[in-house]
Structures are given as structure tokens and as C-alpha cells.
């Protein structure tokens, strides 16, 4: 028994403590979401009742369904396209030798170091002009903010992918070239399937960060109907409604987690593999 404690028992103890730490706040959100009173002051760690009132209010009194749709579409399209653009660039950096390759790779890292959202004034002015000329991709539109997010498609994820591409033996492409495959065929038919894990991971990371993005979205999407979840939910607990809307806010939080969890489940088998394999090469 003592031996078991020393070899296995402590592992469970650490695991259980960590689980308690991880789940505590989530349990609190769960209790608050089902709390019939729906205020912060009446919310406890353990559920005090089971009421769907908060969910009902969220769905009928606010534009939540619309925010949800906006977020899923914006984050979905932006992450898929940005993974694709990033993979294209990673292929060039990993497989091709050209002048400016090192400089290009380094500048990608450097640009990321500039806190992009401090450029919001400039972005605001640029999109002000764009809204005048092409309202379809201006403020309060899906396309506008997706384009803005795609500006950051090349970056850290390109590095991660390049590291992963580097681990695929070059002999594969060479033998395909001998067999008469063009570079397009090599990229789409041979390399992309092999690097699927890292595509899944960068896609998931891009999805999570886009769903969570707040600063740009807050400036960009001002119509209630065009808001994303982060902007909309933030508005629910702003200033003096903090106490009264807490239950509704927590209900919204739980529903917001659904798309992320689904994407996570969908890509789960790739994730641990992709996270670490790319990291080794950096």
C-alpha cells in the first residue's frame, strides 16, 4: 500500500488536484447559467437550481443567435483560409530555394512582434475609406473582418508548418518529380495529406483565437446584428448590468464553448501529435 502510494498514488493526487483547479470555474459558470435568479450575487459554486430561464432570455431578449452565426462563420472561414494560405507559404519556404527566403522568414516573425491592434487607428481610417468605396467589404460585414483577420494569416503558424514540412523527407517529392508530377500535384497530393496533423492544430489555434478576438471586432462591428460573440457578450456585462446579467452571460459562455469543443473533438487525434512535432523544429 505504501509502495503504491509512492509510485502511483501521488500521481492520482496531483491529477485530482489539477482537475479540481481546472473544473472549479467551469462548474461555477455551469451553476450560474442554470441559476434561476440569474444574478452574480446569488451564484454559488454548486448548482442551486435547474432553470432554463437564462438560456431563454439569452435567445429571445438578445441577438445571441445572430452573434453565434457571425462568430462561427467568421472564425470558420478565416481559420480555414488562413491555414491554406499559410500552408502554401510554408511549402515555398520549406521546399524551394530562392533569394530573400531567410529575410522573408525572419520578417514574418518580426511583424508578429508589433502589437497589431495598436494599428487600429490606421485600420479604422483604411476601412473608413473602404466602406465608402465598397460597402460589401466595409465595416459591419463578414467579408471585411475576415479579410482583416487574413492579413495575419502568414506568421507564427507559417513557421510551425514549415518545421513540419521539413520533417517530410525530400526524397518523396524527388521521386514524384521523376514520375512526372508537377509542383502543384506534389503539394496537394503528397505533402498536404502528410502534414494533416499540423494543419489541424494551426486550424484549431486560429479558430480559437478568432472566436476570442475582441479589440478589432469591437471597433469593426458596431451594429448589434453584425457583432461576434465576444463583442456581444462583453456588452451584456458592461458597467452596471454586471450583476443582473451574469446568469445570461454564463449561459452564453457555455453555448460559445460548443463550436470550439466540436472542432476540438473533430481534430483530437491529430492534436497532440501536431503540437509537439512542429515544436521540435521551430
Amino acid at each position: 500500500m505504501k509502495r503504491w502510494m509512492k509510485q502511483v498514488g501521488w500521481r492520482h493526487a496531483v491529477g485530482l488536484l489539477a482537475v479540481a483547479f481546472s473544473l472549479g470555474p467551469i462548474l461555477f459558470v455551469l451553476s450560474a447559467a442554470f441559476n434561476p435568479l440569474g444574478t452574480l450575487s446569488s451564484s454559488q459554486l454548486m448548482p442551486t437550481g435547474l432553470s432554463f430561464g437564462n438560456f431563454q432570455k439569452l435567445l429571445t431578449d438578445t441577438d445571441f443567435p445572430r452573434w453565434f452565426l457571425n462568430s462561427v462563420i467568421i472564425a470558420g472561414v478565416a481559420s480555414v483560409v488562413s491555414v491554406f494560405l499559410s500552408a502554401l507559404a510554408a511549402y515555398a519556404f520549406s521546399r524551394r530555394r530562392f533569394r530573400g527566403r531567410r529575410v522573408g522568414l525572419l520578417s514574418l516573425l518580426l511583424i508578429q512582434m508589433f502589437p497589431q491592434f495598436l494599428a487600429v487607428v490606421a485600420i479604422f481610417l483604411i476601412f473608413g475609406t473602404i466602406t465608402d468605396y465598397w460597402p460589401a467589404i466595409g465595416f459591419n460585414t463578414w467579408w471585411g473582418i475576415i479579410l482583416l483577420y487574413l492579413g495575419g494569416a502568414l506568421g507564427v503558424s507559417t513557421w510551425l508548418m514549415k518545421g513540419f514540412f521539413d520533417t517530410v523527407p525530400r526524397e518523396l517529392d524527388e521521386s514524384a518529380t521523376v514520375d512526372g508530377a508537377s509542383h502543384v500535384e506534389i503539394f496537394f497530393r503528397i505533402l498536404l495529406p502528410l502534414v494533416a496533423p499540423v494543419l489541424a492544430v494551426t486550424g484549431l489555434l486560429a479558430f480559437i483565437s478568432t472566436i476570442n478576438e475582441f479589440v478589432l471586432a469591437n471597433i469593426f462591428l458596431t451594429d448589434s446584428g453584425s457583432k461576434t460573440l465576444s463583442v456581444g457578450l462583453w456588452g451584456l456585462v458592461a458597467a452596471e448590468q454586471r450583476n443582473t446579467n451574469f446568469g445570461i452571460f454564463c449561459a452564453g459562455t457555455l453555448l460559445t464553448a460548443i463550436p470550439t469543443v466540436l472542432v476540438f473533438q473533430l481534430l483530437q487525434r491529430y492534436i497532440v501529435e501536431g503540437l509537439t512535432a512542429g515544436a521540435v523544429k521551430g
Binding site: L40, Q116, A119
Partner: protein, 533 residues
Amino acid sequence: MVTQLGGPATRALPAPGKSEPPERGTSLTGRIVKIVLLGLVVAIAIWAAFPLVANEAWIGLGLLVATTAVLLRLYLTPRHIPAKYLAPGTVLLIAFQIFPVLYTASTAFTNYGDGHRGNKDEAVVAIESASVTQVPGSLQYALSVATTGDPATGPLVFLITDPVTKQVSAGDADGLKKIDDATVTGSGKVTAADGYTILNAGQASLRSGEITALAVPVDGGAIRSSGLSRAYEGKAGRAYDESCDCIRDTATGNTWTADETVGAFVAADGERLAQGWKVGVGFSNFTRVITDRSISGPFLATLVWNFAFALGSTGGTFVLGMLVALALHSKRVRGRNVYRLLLVLPYAMPAFAMLLVWRDMFNTDFGLINNLFGLHVNWMGEAGTARLAVLLVQLWLGYPYMFLVTTGALQAIPAELSEASRIDGAGAWQSFRRIVLPLLMVALTPLLISSFAFNFNNFNAIYLTSEGGPFPADNPMNGATDLLITYTYRLAFGGSGAQYGYAAAISIFIFLIVGLVSAIAFKRTRAQEEVYA
């Protein structure tokens, strides 16, 4: 043109001396896809061209045509294969990231901000119309306040009728504009106008501050409101005098002379008028951080805390994540998958929402933490507890990721290595310290560096929880938990007057600091990798 548009990407040429293999004939589907995509590019370009032509924006049109031409040439000729793969992402990168960043950086050398937005002429107009007062014999108008947008937020417009000519005009800060389609009552009050929404009394009174502040410039004065339904054309009390390049107050005779180095009108005693204009100020925004005592002291404190926060968040999450990963990394632990699933849940929750939940969990009066432990701590009220709180929140949010990554890296380390060291007589600690940890560090250092860079600028972590507070009584600009980035944000967009130029200068500082730290760290990783690889 090519280099300007594509940067390093389109300048990419095949390495000299090594000939690129010529592009081979691709399959039929490939060719069809290519034609469709290029057709789409042309279609988008044509669609985008119409408004540019209509607005006579020739520079924009030139850029559009050049970009399209370069793209078409790139994809229709077999050369420049790397550029084909880099172009799509690079075009977006330049348009929406590099250009805004350069634009912002260029404002760091100006005094751009509230009171220094436009040019000198605009400043003169603003000063003259702000000084307008009602004089005997001023023209009176019946006023309707309207907007072209939403009654609560849209830009305000004064709708007035000239008592003599009966011409209806719409006026804003740019001046008067004649309008034709309007319904006017006998007293000259406009009750409806095409394209404008007239505010009712309730809506107008909500925005009375803005209405009072609005002055519509006209020759020799401006039209201002008196109350919500009357307006008058007043005479300017201050006027610009070209002969002395100064503003003269007609009543008192005081003068404020234009000072081009600061972009403001300055009186002999040093008093400045609030409305100035945008001028280049060289490096003064940068030197201000170092030389101005009231700024440099708090700035240094913020910088130190910023480093502590970034290191603390990264280190804390890494240590905890690794500890848990090590504990669960044993075949003898049953239910590892269940543990893993539960531990990763915080990572799946929306971070912005959980930050707000944590903020409320730290609430003094009805927060969960005080309730649970029977405390009555004002967490966000004291510098020490507030810092502890934001670090704890980061720990919760960040350690599942470190746990996942470390688990993966541990699995990649061959078990034989530590077994061999055991046989050689190493204890558990020694084998961890000498074998496992170094291997882990090689795999994880790049991630730790990017985590550091991310946390150094982790705006949400502070803005959504403590909002930078608590603030010392004598300095409402630097709070105890402020990061440089939240501090900069407050400078640029905070309530007490925007200082974009200064904020841009600080963001360049941030950029240099993070870049330098990352560069050093990456260099060390390379050295490390050579040692252990």
C-alpha cells in the same frame, strides 16, 4: 512595381546557377481550376475598379491594375514558382498588416491626437467657430437637429431655413450645404428632409452636449444652437490674422502666435489654444519617455511589472503543466484519458468570457473566491492582490496547453534513455534533471518563447479583468497591473484625450523590446540544440 507590391516574395527568383525545373503541363482539372480562379481575380478587380473610377481615385486604381497585372503574369507564366505560393498571403499581409503598422509607426514622429488632428486651416476654422458669441442683431433661425445615421450615435446635422431666401440648408462642422427636398413649416422649421432623420426632443436632449458644441462655420462667424430648437449666426470673437500669423481676440486684443514646431497657437505667456494642428515633432515622443520625470518613473515600473507578468505567466503555466504531465505520464495510472479530457476543458472554454467570469469571481462583495474561503479581500483594490489575481487567472487559462504539449513531448522521449540512467544508478530526480528536462527544453523552448512574446502583450488578460487597476491616487494613467500595451491603449483611446503620436512611439518601444528578447532567446535555442542534438 513588382518589388513594391510583393516585397521579398515577388522578388524571389530562382537561385542563380541552379536552374528551376520547368513547370510541366498540369492535369485538365488543374488547368480548369486555375482558369476559374484567375477569372475570379479579374472579376473582383473589375468590380473593385468601378467605385475607384467613379471617385476619381487614380492612385488606388493604378495600384489595383498593377496588382492584378502582376498576379496574372505570375500565374500565367511558368517562372517564379515560390512566388506563386507566397503571393496570396503576402498581398493580404501587406494590405492589412504591414501598411497599417507602417502608417502607425509614421505617426510616432508627429503630435497626432486630440486637438492635433487636421491641418492648420482646419484648426483656424475650429478656433473661430468655437469663439462665436451672440451679438445684437445676430440672425436667428428655427433649428431642427437631424442626423444621417442612427438617432443615438449618428453624425449630427443642423437643418435651418434662411429667413430671407427661404433656402433650406444642412450644416455640420464642414459648413453649410443646400438641400432641396425638405418640408418646412411657416415659422421656417424643417420637419422632414430627404436622407436625414430629425431627432425628437427626447433624442435631442440626450445629445445636448454635442449639440451645444457643434458650430457650423460661415463667413465671419458660425451658426450655433441656443437650446434645442433655436440657432443664431454669431460673430467670431477670435480671428486669424495673416499679417502676424496669429489668432487675435477682437474683444481683449490678446494674440496667440502660431508655433510650427508644436503645432499650436501660443500666447506670449505660454498659454496654448486647445485646437492645434498636426506637425512632425521628430523624436520628441521617444525622448519624452526617458526625460519627462512624471512619465519615466511610472513607465519603468510598468516595464518591470510587464516582464514579471510575462515571465510569471509563461513560467507558472509551464511548471504546473509539466508537473501534471509528469505525474500522469505512467502506464500504471488508470484513467489517463479521462484526466486528459477534463484537464483540457479550460482550453476549450472561450477565453474572453472566462476572463470576465474570473473578474467577477474576484468581486469583493459577492465574488465566489471570497465566499468560498470566507474572506473579505478587495482583490482588485490592492496592487499585490490584483497582481496575484491576474497571474492566477493566466495560470488557469494557460496551463492546459502546456500540459498537452509536455505530454506530447514526453511521449517522444524514448523510455530506454531514463531506464538506462536508472541502471547506471541515477535517482528519479537525477534522471529527470539530467535526461528528461534537457530533452523537454529542446522541444519546448520555441513554444516558451512565443508564449512569452504573447503574454508580454496579453491585452485581454488585463483589460478584461483588472483594467490595469488599481491606480495610484496621483496617477490615473499607470495602474499596478498595467502592461505597456494596456497603458498604450489608454493613451491612444482613453477618456482624457487621445495621444496617438505618443502611443505609437510606445508601441515601437514594445516592438523593440519583444523583438530583442525573442531574438536573444532564439539564438540561445540554436546553441542549445547543437549541444543536445
